[in-house]
């Protein structure tokens, strides 16, 4: 699996008063098994961008290659692409509609034209992957708690067996524990099911802990594309585009400015703790 985005541009409502250049010359490469964080403030183009990856929005110019094939080629199987690139929207629980949890998760795979048995098998598996208990399969999706609803919605996409899973702010509105649980679940999908993950988030703290690579978008352009550590080193530039590094980055920088010889590379609490202990015990 690989995705190559080549000079992608998207102009919203061209020729009208609402015209907006939402994506500008995006060049990116995403390889199999990566865990990518996509960050940018509201309106930076990140939500627009991910909808290009499964063909929901068509770029104005440029191309996207999925496994070497340009998805804008005539006759390209878009429906096939959508099942390989799974997209979980923001507040995905708002798309639940069936009478019970199990049926709702079956919606995706049955649209793929699979046999009934296959569909149910996949739904069952997907619900297990997100940690939904079997006792909930017959419950109405509208009666679940917020966190449970979100898991069911994610399972609805997982049941299509995508190779890439894109999640648009999967933790929005959840409480701290609910947030951690969802993120752990996603990390598990990456590790155990070998899914390539693109995690769209506002929270640097969340992203720093999990991702291998961080893509920062600003005004429709890619501003940074590197490991979290290297991106956070630019925390002053991040602030200029309405973002911020995790709090520990600031702590380490402050300590260093006050003469403590710590490395400023720590991005998680665990790393910061080790680094401070190392220096203090000297």
């Amino acid at each position: 699996m690989s995705i190559i985005v080549d000079k992608l541009n998207y102009i919203y409502s061209p020729g009208t008063a609402y015209q907006k250049h939402a994506l500008k010359d995006i060049n990116l490469e995403i390889t199999e098994g990566e865990f990518i964080g996509l960050i940018g403030h509201t309106g930076s183009g990140k939500s627009t961008f991910i909808q290009h990856l499964n063909g929901l929005i068509r770029g104005t110019s440029g191309s996207i290659y999925f496994n070497g094939q340009n998805i804008y080629d005539a006759g390209y199987n878009m429906k096939g692409l959508r099942s390989k690139v799974g997209l979980v929207f923001q507040y995905p629980e708002h798309q639940l509609f069936e009478t019970n949890v199990f049926k709702d998760v079956c919606f995706g795979p049955s649209n793929q034209g699979l046999e009934a048995l296959q569909v149910e098998l996949r739904a069952y598996e997907a619900l297990k992957m997100v940690g939904i208990d079997n006792s909930l399969l017959d419950a109405s999706p509208f009666e679940l708690s917020g966190g449970q609803k979100r898991r069911v919605a994610i399972a609805g996409v997982l049941a299509m067996k995508p190779e890439v899973l894109i999640l648009d702010e999967p933790t929005a509105g959840l409480d701290p524990k609910g947030r951690d649980e969802i993120l752990e679940q996603i990390a598990k999908l990456h590790k155990e099911n070998k899914l390539t993950i693109i995690l769209v988030s506002h929270s640097m703290e969340d992203v720093a802990k999990y991702v291998d690579r961080l893509i920062v978008m600003n005004r429709g352009e890619v501003a940074f594309n590197d490991t979290p550590r290297k991106v956070f080193a630019h925390y002053k530039e991040l602030e200029k585009i309405g973002l911020a590094a995790p709090q520990v980055t600031y702590v380490m920088n402050e300590l260093r400015m006050h003469g403590l010889p710590v490395s400023i590379e720590a991005t998680t609490i665990e790393e910061a703790k080790e680094e401070i202990l190392r220096v203090m015990k000297h």
């Binding site: 403030h41 509201t42 309106g43 708690s145 917020g146 966190g147 929005a172 509105g173 959840l174 409480d175 701290p176 524990k177 609910g178 506002h202 929270s203 703290e205 309405g242 973002l243 911020a244 995790p246 709090q247 520990v248 600031y250 702590v251 402050e254 300590l255 006050h258 403590l260 609490i269 910061a272 703790k273 401070i276 202990l277 203090m280």
Partner: protein, 287 residues
């Protein structure tokens, strides 16, 4: 006596089937007693489903207790006659910014409250202008709310409450649906109103960074108040907070972890500044 006082408050959501028989009872608030001083900035923390929003809706009589009593400015919220006096004086801002804006023009939405109160037209205009200035949204007065960011919409909602000249604002997870910038924007606005206009603030949230400036924090779990104190006192108990599905700011957690590893750092570090100070003191001692 404080502006808000609750005594043994209890609230049950009762679900009935078609014949009116009780199907299930869910106790959302369980024996809550509290006392809020006028002019304070009070935060109520709790995970989703802990009962904090239900408690918020009791303050302005959107809900009335199943048992126990809540007084707002010495008015019992169960007494029908007090209803509008309470609601005028205890304004409420909700979670979803879209679902609380009534009008299609910003200034007309801010006017909605005063219009309902029967304020004369001329005074409505002054109130609308004052409130929009107070939240820093004057330049958007003629805009459609649809074109604004989430944070801006919440500021409009706050202005709409301020225009009713309340003594207290209850904010029920006002930042849950916002991005980090929107969150900061709203919290800054609320803090300023508390300081400049002396409005009592009740902030319901599960974001820990938002409560470090509060005068007092209540933590709720399973309908009960399980912790209360200053932010520093609350954040000293990292383990207990985690038990209630909550979190602490990263710097607080880092300090706590270092302490566990043997560094003599004080409890309840709230800001980067405090943290750096504490570390420096430690170094001076060891020289």
């Amino acid at each position: 006596m404080g502006i808000i006082k609750a005594k043994n408050l209890l609230f049950e959501y009762i679900r009935r089937d078609e014949d009116g028989n009780v199907e299930s009872i869910n106790r959302a608030i369980d024996d809550v007693t509290l006392d809020v001083k006028k002019g304070d900035f009070v935060a109520v923390l709790g995970h989703n489903g802990s009962g904090k929003s239900t408690l918020a809706k009791h303050i302005n009589a959107l809900l009335v207790p199943t048992e126990g009593t809540l007084w707002f400015k010495d008015m019992n919220t169960t007494e029908e006659d007090n209803l509008w006096l309470i609601r005028q004086s205890a304004g409420m801002v909700f979670q979803n910014p879209d679902n609380q804006i009534v009008a299609s023009v910003v200034e007309e939405d801010v006017a909605f409250g005063p219009e309902n109160l029967g304020v004369p037209t001329k005074d409505i205009w002054t109130r609308v202008e004052e409130s929009l200035n107070a939240v820093g949204m004057m330049e958007y007065r003629g805009h459609s709310p649809n074109k604004l960011s989430g944070g801006q919409k919440q500021r409009i909602a706050i202005a709409g409450i301020m225009a009713m000249k309340p003594e207290c604002i209850v904010l029920d997870e006002p930042t849950a649906m916002l991005d980090p910038n929107g969150r900061k924007e709203v919290i800054r606005t609320v803090k300023e109103l508390n300081k400049n206009e002396k409005v009592t603030v009740i902030l319901i949230t599960h974001y820990m960074e938002e409560v470090i400036y509060a005068d007092k924090v209540y933590v709720m779990d399973d309908g009960k108040v399980v912790m209360e104190g200053s932010p520093r006192e609350i954040f000293s108990n990292v383990e207990e907070l985690k038990k209630y599905r909550l979190d602490v700011p990263q710097v607080t957690e880092l300090a706590y972890e270092l302490k566990k590893s043997g560094l003599a750092i004080p409890d309840g570090i709230l800001t980067t500044h405090e943290f750096v100070d504490a570390i420096q003191k430690l170094r001076q001692q060891s020289w």
